[in-house]
């Protein structure tokens, strides 16, 4: 039953490797330099270094949360604004295909992740489903960094990419949690009976609802609508200060991203020690799975008509793993899953890999598949 995705996975990997010629490697390295030696990834590195030398940088959690709120609102608002222009010019003609592709990717990636984790890496049902929930969802900050990257390379992504981020947020978590709950329910029922005590009813429904109405979705989708509506109804001059505030090319967004990445570096750095605990299989998974998912994203994005920047960014968000919405949902529904595994993979392996190496690689992949 799971042979198809396994075969796909086994098929793509060497294929991709073969295709990547020396020239492409050269271009990747050049992209890497251009990408890495900019303030955003460098701030991440500063955070990493700080934890390793036990330095004293402390970002108050309220600053981190405030920046997260601002970034999500900004992604939504500017997304809604550009969607309004796109919609005005082309209706839904350009949008429905990428939206569908994104939905498909949101349903496929938790399953590929689960299959690889359960049958290749031999994790328990709960652990496999828990990690899959993280990789089925997405990381808004990876989106923001990918978007900055393509703007810097003068290949800005299509206008509706933020809409796609919003679409990608939920389905993956939901599918993985339902899968995990269904597969592990028999075990639990048996245990409960033998213990002879009333076991807490499943928190699944509750957790799914919380994911779907979580802060990330509410802010991105909410501000998307607000950006859309106000673009249509306000005159440009009155709209300007709001645009300047939320503008993702603007100083506030870029500057806040620096501070956010610094904190991400601090958090990821503290998890570096856990890399030993989680074992080489998960480390490999945290690097190779994003490459596969990233290629899925780039390829389907290209089929759906995205431009070069758009394919790159879609690849990056499909490749990214959630570390905000997924963890509490998994903790509540699959309590026997070890959170150290999923969080270390998402935060200390996949996130830095994507920021530093993944994004330029997806950019080259996008060129490879012919996006322009």
């Amino acid at each position: 039953m799971f042979t198809l995705p396994l075969a796909l996975l086994a098929g793509w990997m060497p294929g991709m490797m073969a295709v990547v010629s020396a020239e492409q490697i050269g271009r990747v390295l050049e992209s890497l330099e251009r990408n890495l030696l900019t303030p955003i990834p460098l701030c991440f590195v500063l955070g990493l270094i700080c934890t390793q030398i036990h330095g004293g940088i402390k970002i108050p959690k309220e600053l981190y949360l405030s920046i997260a709120i601002f970034l999500l609102m900004s992604i939504g608002f500017i997304g809604g604004h550009e969607l309004a222009h796109e919609y005005h010019e082309h209706g839904v003609a350009t949008i429905w295909k990428p939206a569908l592709a994104t939905l498909v990717l949101g349903c496929v990636t938790p399953i590929t992740s689960y299959v690889v984790l359960r049958y290749l890496c031999r994790f328990s049902i709960a652990d496999a489903a828990g990690i899959a929930a993280h990789y089925g969802s997405t990381s808004a900050v990876t989106y923001a960094v990918a978007n900055s990257f393509v703007e810097q390379t003068q290949h800005p992504a299509d206008a509706f990419l933020p809409t796609l981020v919003t679409i990608l947020e939920c389905p993956g978590i939901a599918i993985a949690l339902v899968l995990g709950a269904a597969l592990s329910s028999r075990d639990r029922a048996a245990k409960a009976r033998s213990a002879g005590v009333a076991v807490r009813e499943s928190k699944l429904g509750e957790a799914l609802y919380e994911v779907m109405t979580g802060q990330s979705i509410m802010l991105m989708a909410g501000l998307l609508v607000i950006g859309f509506v106000s673009t249509l109804f306000m005159d440009a001059k009155a709209f300007q200060p709001f645009y300047d505030f939320f503008q993702s090319k603007g100083m506030l967004f870029r500057g806040c991203l620096c501070i956010f990445l610094l904190e991400m570096g601090l958090v990821a750095g503290e998890r570096l020690g856990d890399l030993v605990k989680v074992g080489p299989a998960l480390v490999a998974f945290g690097i190779l799975m994003p490459l596969v998912h990233g290629f899925f994203g780039v390829y389907l994005g290209h089929l759906a008509g995205l431009n070069l920047g758009g394919c790159t960014v879609l690849g990056a968000i499909v490749a990214s793993a959630s570390y905000i919405a997924a963890p509490p949902a998994v903790r509540l529904t699959l309590p026997e899953a070890n959170p150290t595994l999923s969080i270390t993979a998402a935060l200390a392996i996949t996130f830095p890999f994507n920021i530093a190496f993944g994004i330029p690689i997806y950019f080259e992949m996008a060129k490879l598949v012919g996006a322009t």
Binding site: K61, Y64, L65, A68, A195, V197, A198, V199, R200, E263, M264, V267, D274, Y323, I324, P327, P328, V330, R331, L332, P335, E336, N338, P339, T340, I343, L347
Partner: protein, 104 residues
């Protein structure tokens, strides 16, 4: 000044379960609760999940009669001790106007 002998139940555990525990305590007979954010370290603290931007551990206190205390401790012990990082204990306290915290 009349004081009523009651029990103070203190539960310290992962943030992800604490607001539920507070609510369940009230369902089991507590007239209220007092929650606070703490920084915790214990045998399983590596399992704490909220990665950043929130306190990972919370403390919840209930002032209750003995029977409710038993119920809360049993409930917490059966439902949360196995898979979640938490600890719970009981203290004897003397409560002002304690009658309002009984059987409500």
């Amino acid at each position: 000044m009349q004081l009523y002998p009651l029990k103070l139940v203190t539960v310290v555990g992962e943030t992800v379960i604490m607001s539920e525990i507070a609510k369940e305590g009230v369902e089991l007979g507590a007239s209220g609760y007092t929650l606070s954010e703490v920084i915790g370290h214990g045998s399983r603290s590596a399992r704490n999940v909220i990665v950043t931007g929130a306190s990972k551990t919370m403390k919840c206190e209930f002032v209750v009669p003995m029977d409710v205390a038993e119920k809360i401790l049993k409930h917490v012990s059966h439902n949360y001790f196995e898979h979640y990082a938490c600890i719970a204990w009981l203290t004897d306290v003397q409560v002002v106007r304690g009658q309002s915290y009984i059987g409500s």
